[in-house]
C-alpha cells in the first residue's frame, strides 16, 4: 500500500475510533478501562507497535508509516497516557535486550493494552544520580530474586501490571557495576503502591515499597550486574519518546497552543503579536528538529544522546509556553477548567516536563559529555565500592 493510502486509512480509522471528548493525560486515571479497550482496537487495526518486529507482535513496518500515523494521530488525542511508559520505554527496552521468552510473554500483550508497565528507577536518595539507588535484590533459592527497598516518583504505577526495576545486586563494587534490571510483577505479594499527590492536585506518580518480593527466574533484562547498561538503553528511549510525545495530548487539546491563544488574546496588539511569534518560532524549530531526528533514524543514523537535546528543548518550550499563555490571558486563566484543565492546569503541569525523564541540568551534562565529547567532571564516586559511598541526603 502506498503511503498516501496508508495515511488516508489511518485518518479514517482515527476519525471513527477516537473518543470525541478530549482525553487529556491526567484524566486517564478514571479511564483505564477505556484506555485498555482503545489499545486493543488500535492493535487490531494494526496501529500499535507500527515499527516493532512482527515476530513479537509488532507491525514490522518502517518509520515512514510510523510518521504518517503519528502525524494523523497528532491532530487528535489518543487516550493512551497509561501506556506511555510501556510503549515509550519498557517495551523498546525489551525489544532491544529481552530474552525470546520475555518478548514472547510481554510484547504483544503490551501492544494490545493487556499490560500496563511502569519504570522503577528513582528512589528518595537516587534520582539524577540513579546509580546511587539502594533497593536490594538477592538471589532466591529457585534461581529468582528477593527484593527489598523503596522507589518513588513512579508514573502510572497505580495501574501497572509490570515494572522494569533497577536494583542493587552487588555492594562490593562501584555503584554503576552492581546493578541489575528485573521485570517485576506489580501484583506480587509484598509490593505496596501508594499514589503521591503532585502539585497539580492529582496523582500522576507513586511511591512503591518492596517487602521480600519474590521475582521469578528468567526476569533479568540484560546481564546480572549489567543493569546500568540496560538502564541507559531505557533512558535513551525515554528521552526520544518524551520529545516525540508518545501518549501525550495533541495540539487540539493544548490550551496554550497558538490556535487556542488566538481565541483569548488581542492579536492586533503589537506586543502580544511579538510574543506569539516567539512561541511560533520555538515550536516550529523544535518540531522540525524532531522531524529531522526521525528522518535520520529512518536513514540508519541513530540519534543516541542527541535525543537529550530534543528532551531539553521540549521541557523549555513547555514551561515557556504555559508561562506565556497564562500571562497573556491574564487573571481569568487562573480558574481551572472542569477536570483540572485549561491554562491553570497547563502551568501547574509544566514543571513535570523539566523533571521527569531527567532534569534540564542532567540533559545538559549528557549533551556536553556524549554529544560534544567535553571532558567529564571530576567525580568522587566512580571507583569506590558502593558500600563505602555517601548517597542521597546521607552525610
Amino acid at each position: 500500500m502506498d503511503l498516501e493510502e496508508y495515511r488516508r486509512q489511518a485518518r479514517d480509522w482515527l476519525a471513527a475510533n477516537v473518543p470525541g471528548a478530549p482525553a487529556e493525560g491526567s484524566a486517564a486515571e478514571d479511564g483505564v478501562a477505556t484506555a485498555r479497550e482503545f489499545m486493543a482496537r488500535l492493535y487490531d487495526a494494526g496501529y500499535s507497535g507500527i515499527t516493532w518486529p512482527a515476530e513479537w507482535g509488532g507491525q514490522g513496518l518502517t518509520q515512514a508509516e510510523d510518521r504518517a500515523f503519528a502525524a494523523e494521530a497528532a491532530r487528535v488525542s489518543l487516550p493512551i497516557y497509561v501506556f506511555s511508559i510501556g510503549l515509550g520505554m519498557c517495551g523498546p527496552t525489551l525489544v532491544d535486550l529481552g530474552t525470546p521468552e520475555q518478548k514472547a510473554r510481554h510484547i504483544r500483550r503490551l501492544l494490545r493494552g493487556e499490560e500496563i508497565w511502569c519504570q522503577l528507577f528513582s528512589e528518595p536518595g537516587a534520582g539524577s544520580d540513579v546509580a546511587a539507588l539502594q533497593t536490594r535484590a538477592v538471589p532466591a533459592d529457585d534461581g529468582g530474586w528477593i527484593v527489598n527497598g523503596q522507589k518513588v516518583w513512579t508514573s502510572v504505577a497505580q495501574h501497572a501490571d509490570y515494572g522494569l526495576l533497577l536494583a542493587r545486586t552487588d555492594v562490593e563494587v562501584p555503584k554503576h557495576k552492581g546493578l541489575t534490571m528485573l521485570i517485576v510483577d506489580m501484583h506480587a505479594p509484598g509490593v505496596t503502591v501508594r499514589p503521591l499527590k503532585d502539585m497539580t492536585g492529582r496523582a500522576h506518580f507513586n511511591e512503591i515499597f518492596f517487602d521480600d518480593v519474590h521475582i521469578a527466574p528468567g526476569s533479568v533484562v540484560g546481564e546480572v550486574n549489567g543493569g546500568w547498561s540496560s538502564a541507559v538503553t531505557t533512558l535513551l528511549h525515554e528521552r526520544l519518546s518524551i520529545s516525540s510525545g508518545v501518549g501525550m495530548s495533541g495540539p487540539r487539546d493544548n490550551p496554550a497552543s497558538l490556535d487556542a491563544l488566538r481565541e483569548v488574546v488581542d492579536v492586533q496588539d503589537p506586543l502580544v503579536r511579538d510574543q506569539l511569534v516567539e512561541l511560533h518560532i520555538r515550536s516550529r524549530a523544535l518540531a522540525l528538529f524532531n522531524a529531522k531526528l526521525s528522518q535520520e533514524t529512518k536513514a540508519g543514523i541513530f540519534p543516541g544522546a542527541r535525543g537529550s537535546a530534543a528532551k531539553l528543548l521540549l521541557a523549555e518550550l513547555t514551561n515557556f509556553q504555559a508561562d506565556l499563555a497564562v500571562s497573556l490571558a491574564g487573571p481569568q486563566a487562573l480558574a481551572y477548567e472542569p477536570g483540572g484543565g485549561g491554562l491553570a492546569g497547563a502551568i501547574a503541569l509544566a514543571p513535570a516536563m523539566s523533571l521527569g525523564g531527567g532534569t534540564n541540568e542532567i540533559m545538559r551534562n549528557i549533551i556536553g559529555d556524549r554529544v560534544l565529547n567535553l571532558p567529564p567532571e571530576p567525580r568522587a564516586d566512580k571507583n569506590v565500592p558502593f558500600k563505602d559511598l555517601k548517597v542521597g541526603t546521607q552525610s
Binding site: 511569534v277 511560533h280 522531524a291 535520520e296 537535546a309
Partner: protein, 368 residues
C-alpha cells in the same frame, strides 16, 4: 519534506569543505581581508570554475548547473563556516533574483546577464537588501537616489537595483562604469565582507523585471517577493555555517584550555552553555534544511519558511558567535584571535536584510 542531506549533497559538502580548507583557511582569510581587493581573485575564480558555486542554481540554458536551493544551502553553509571573504554571496543573490526573473519575465536582459554570473566572470550584487526599498527612483530609463549599504557594491561589475517606479517596484541593471554612479567604499564592522554606499544621479539603467506586470500582461508581482525569500534562505545557510564553525571552535578550545587544574569544558557553567549552543545548532540546521526544501519543492510554504529562517537562525547565529567569543576569555577580545571575525560576521548577517524585527513582523502576518 527533506531535512537530511542526500548522498550527492554530502559529496558537494565534502568537496566545498576540502577546497576551502586548502585554498582559504582562516590565516588566508585574514591576509585577504586586508588586501586591496578584500579577497583573492584567484580563489574566487576557482570556486566558480572548479566548483561552479556562483552558477549553482542558474538554469543550464543560461550557463549554470541547474541545481536546487537545497544544494546551494549546502555550499553556502561551508563558505559561511570558512568566513570566505569576497563577493560570492552578493553574486549568488544576484543570480537568484535574475533566475527568478528569467523564469517568469521574457526579458532579453536576463538572458544576456546570467551567463557571465554563472561563469563566475561577472561579479554582481543586489541592493538594497533591506525591506525599506524606497531609496532609488526610476524614471525614463535612469535611476536617482541612494543606497546606504550594498554588499560588495564597490567590487561589483554589475549592480542589480530594486527601484521605485510609477507602478511599484522594478529591478534594474546598472553597469559598473555608468555615468552618474558613484560608489563609496565603507569601513564596516565585518572586515571579511566589504560594503559600499551607492549614489545614482540620472544613471542609465536597464529594466530587468517589473514587480508588476510582465510583457505578456501576466501578474508577476511575486517575482521580487519570492526572490527575496530565496535570498533569506541563502543567507540563513551561511549563518548556519558561521554558527556551526563558532561552536566547533569553542568546543575544541574548551577541551584543551586548563583553569584551576582542569579543562574548562569540564565546568558546568561552560559545559551547559555549550549544550545550549548545540541545541540552537540542531534547530537552526533543521530550519535551514526545511526552508531550502520549501524553496525547491513547496513554493506555498516558502514565505513562512524564509521568515522563520531569518528570525531564528539569524539570532541563534549571533548568540552562539557571541558566547563562543566570551568563553574564550581575554584572548577572544584580541584582534589576533579569529573569534571576533565570527562575531562580526554574525552580527552583520543578522541585520543584512533589514532589522530582525521585520522578519518577525512578516512571520506574524503569515501565522497569527
Amino acid at each position: 519534506m527533506m531535512l537530511i542531506l542526500s548522498p550527492e549533497q554530502r559529496e558537494l559538502r565534502a568537496a566545498v569543505r576540502s577546497f576551502l580548507a586548502a585554498a582559504s583557511p582562516l590565516a588566508k582569510v585574514r591576509q585577504d581581508m586586508e588586501s586591496p581587493d578584500g579577497y583573492d581573485r584567484a580563489v574566487y575564480r576557482r570556486l566558480n570554475g572548479e566548483l561552479g558555486l556562483s552558477g549553482l542554481i542558474v538554469p543550464e540554458e543560461h550557463g549554470g548547473a541547474g541545481a536546487g536551493h537545497a544544494d546551494l544551502a549546502v555550499a553556502l553553509e561551508e563558505t559561511g563556516a570558512a568566513l570566505l571573504p569576497g563577493p560570492l554571496l552578493a553574486t549568488v543573490f544576484a543570480a537568484i533574483v535574475l533566475t527568478e526573473a528569467a523564469a517568469t519575465y521574457d526579458g532579453q536582459a536576463v538572458k544576456e546577464l546570467l551567463p557571465g554570473i554563472a561563469a563566475g566572470t561577472t561579479v554582481a550584487t543586489l541592493a538594497p537588501l533591506s525591506g525599506d526599498r524606497g531609496g532609488v527612483t526610476a524614471s525614463g530609463g535612469t535611476l536617482t537616489g541612494q543606497i546606504p549599504v550594498a554588499p560588495n557594491g564597490a567590487e561589483a561589475d554589475l549592480l542589480l537595483v530594486v527601484a521605485r517606479t510609477g507602478e511599484g517596484e522594478a529591478l534594474y541593471a546598472v553597469e559598473a562604469g555608468a555615468p552618474g554612479l558613484s560608489r563609496t567604499p565603507l569601513t564596516t564592522l565585518d572586515p571579511t565582507r566589504r560594503q559600499a554606499r551607492l549614489t545614482f544621479d540620472g544613471t542609465p539603467a536597464r529594466l530587468v523585471a517589473t514587480g508588476g506586470l510582465d510583457v505578456n500582461g501576466d501578474a508577476h508581482g511575486h517575482v521580487l517577493a519570492r526572490a527575496f525569500d530565496l535570498v533569506s534562505v541563502a543567507l540563513a545557510a551561511e549563518q548556519l555555517g558561521v554558527l556551526r564553525a563558532g561552536l566547533d571552535a569553542i568546543v575544541a578550545y574548551s577541551r584543551i584550555r586548563v583553569a584551576f587544574g582542569r579543562q574548562i569544558g569540564s565546568y558546568q557553567a561552560v559545559k551547559h552553555r555549550l549544550a545550549d549552543m548545540h541545541c540552537k545548532l540542531e534547530q537552526a540546521d533543521a530550519i535551514v534544511r526545511f526552508a531550502a526544501w520549501a524553496a525547491d519543492e513547496s513554493p506555498g510554504e516558502l514565505p513562512e519558511a524564509a521568515a522563520l529562517a531569518q528570525a531564528y537562525v539569524g539570532r541563534a547565529c549571533f548568540e552562539v558567535a557571541r558566547d563562543h567569543l566570551l568563553l574564550h576569555g581575554g584572548v577572544g577580545f584580541t584582534w589576533e584571535h579569529d573569534a571576533h571575525l565570527y562575531y562580526k560576521r554574525a552580527k552583520s548577517d543578522e541585520v543584512l536584510l533589514g532589522p530582525p524585527r521585520t522578519h518577525r513582523a512578516r512571520l506574524a502576518e503569515l501565522v497569527i
